[in-house]
């Protein structure tokens, strides 16, 4: 709801404020700081900013980019916290990815030899 409110306000703001920089083809957009909406240009970095995604504890993501060297377990296995799932090799280091808590490994999204980017979804816990 908060989001839709912001968008609505921003749109209203753009409509209400006569924009000299739009007239001059300077491509201005609304930017809200506190309760005030300013007419301004965006930077590339601002336009490409990543919005926050809450962390799902059931999803195991690659914390470093690298290669899946070996997978120790099968999908559906019930594991204890600290049990090894697989080896993620990165920068010549063999990192053992382990279970963060007790649970059943619902799905493994990689196979041995895969090269994964940072934050790639490796496995999911039920």
């Amino acid at each position: 709801m908060a989001n839709s409110k912001t968008v609505k306000q921003a749109k209203a703001g753009k409509k209400n404020i006569p924009s000299p920089c739009d007239e001059k083809g300077m491509n201005c957009k609304p930017l809200q700081i506190e309760e005030t909406i300013y007419n301004t240009q965006y930077t590339k970095k601002f336009e490409n900013r990543k919005f926050y995604q809450p962390v799902d504890p059931n999803k195991i993501l690659a914390y470093i980019p690298g290669t899946i060297l070996k997978i120790f377990v099968k999908e559906g296995t019930v594991l204890k916290a600290g049990d090894s799932i697989l080896i993620l090799e990165a920068m010549k280091m063999r990192n053992v990815v382990t279970m963060p808590f007790n649970g059943k490994l619902r799905k493994i999204y990689v196979k041995e030899g895969d090269i994964v980017a940072k934050n790639f979804l490796i496995a999911e816990i039920e």
Partner: protein
Amino acid sequence: MPVNKKILELKKKREQVFLGGGEQAIQKQNAMGKLTARERIVALLDKESFNEYDLFVEHDARDFDMEKKTLHGDGVIIGTGTIHGKPVCIFAQDFTVAGGSLGSMHARKITKIMDHSLKMRMPLIGINDSGGARIQEGVNSLAGYGEIFFRNTLASGVIPQISVILGPCAGGAVYSPALTDFVFVVDKISKMFITGPEVIKTVLGEEISMEELGGARVHAEITGNAHFFALSEEECFSQIKKLLTFLPWSNTERSIVTEPKLPKKNFKITSIVPEDARQPYDVRNVVRSLVDDSDFLEIQELWAANIVIGFGKINGGTVGFVCNQPLVLAGVLDVDSSDKAARFIRFCDAFNIPIVTLVDLPGYLPGVDQEHAGVIRHGAKILYSYSEATVPKITVILRKAYGGGYIAMNSRHLRADFVFAWPSAEIAVMGPEGAANIIFKKEITTAEDPEKMRAQKVEEYKEKFANPYVAAAKGYIDSVIEPGETRNMLTHAIEVSLRKEIGMPKKKHGIPPF
């Protein structure tokens, strides 16, 4: 051997070395759109002013059959010359000789000229064009880099250090430019990175071109590693010469004083800033309406454009400008703009350059990305740099100065020497809309027509607080001035502030929030 013959021999030896890596390698260099190291020095320095040293230095590698190879000058040219008639030290890596790779003698030549520049207090200009460490020389090559970094650090804040990236500059080599004051890059020629595309591909599986990874545009727009971006080597050299018109030759001198000139008439200070605080304008035009001949040299123009930094002259003397830019992101402070301003403030302070701060900002950029990127730590750098600076510090509040942003932008509280405000200034804890919503929350929510009440209360708040007079009544503002009076006020304020003598508590050095 008769004397004449000996002189001829010297001439012959010189000519051999002047050819660097030989005709073929020179042709190859030119084919890449690059000048040779020697051509670059000639293009940059005053005509016929270059004096070369260590011309006959040879490498001392004795492994991998290197002893059989001749590397003229060991791939680097060093010397002194003049720019604007004043002496400078210069080194230029010669890519035609073994790819400009850095061996121990190559490094020793560079450190020799660095030592001269520090000892004799002249600016150092380094032209980088090198494939990196000379692998055959192993740890001796690494030692060479270390000796260079150490000297960059030692000279920091004593003499201006300029790095020009005119070719590859990869791996550890990038840290010498990073330690210097100004980095110049040229489109399609400069390449800087720690690990190259090949390593990234084999280790991480990510494919990226050299240009996308660490080309000139990347460093000018995204990383902020570069301060000046040019489309050709010629343009780059004229940028360097221009920059040097604003700099002192060392930290015990003042910048060159030029003939005072009035700003150009087409920059009218009274008609640049819109009355509505929500509307943008280009703050660089305000600067141009204040400086001699409207000549403003902007630094890091393409990166963190929500803050503007650069040099201009007022009444002939160099001034460093730090200005919020309402045209971009409403002029907010964020991680990058804080870094950009803070480092510039410290440069000005180290080199006796008065700082003029033009304020018009709504506050800090909100967002999880900013908070998680450490906007607290980075934002603190501005507070630190302003507080620590002892050069003349003058502030002009043009329009908005809200909340923490007001404090950070060289407020009286950080020991500004003079703070002026235009009648359009709004110095307040936050914007009127936000403040009214908090202060009059009860009245607004219980009103029959909350929107009408809100608008009324916002107006009420604007009337009472969105002006410079509340702050002026407390003496936080020294003077409320008409825009047209600004240049004269600045001229006088700088003149008197240059006389100040203030001490800092005794310490080895502070610990800025890097």
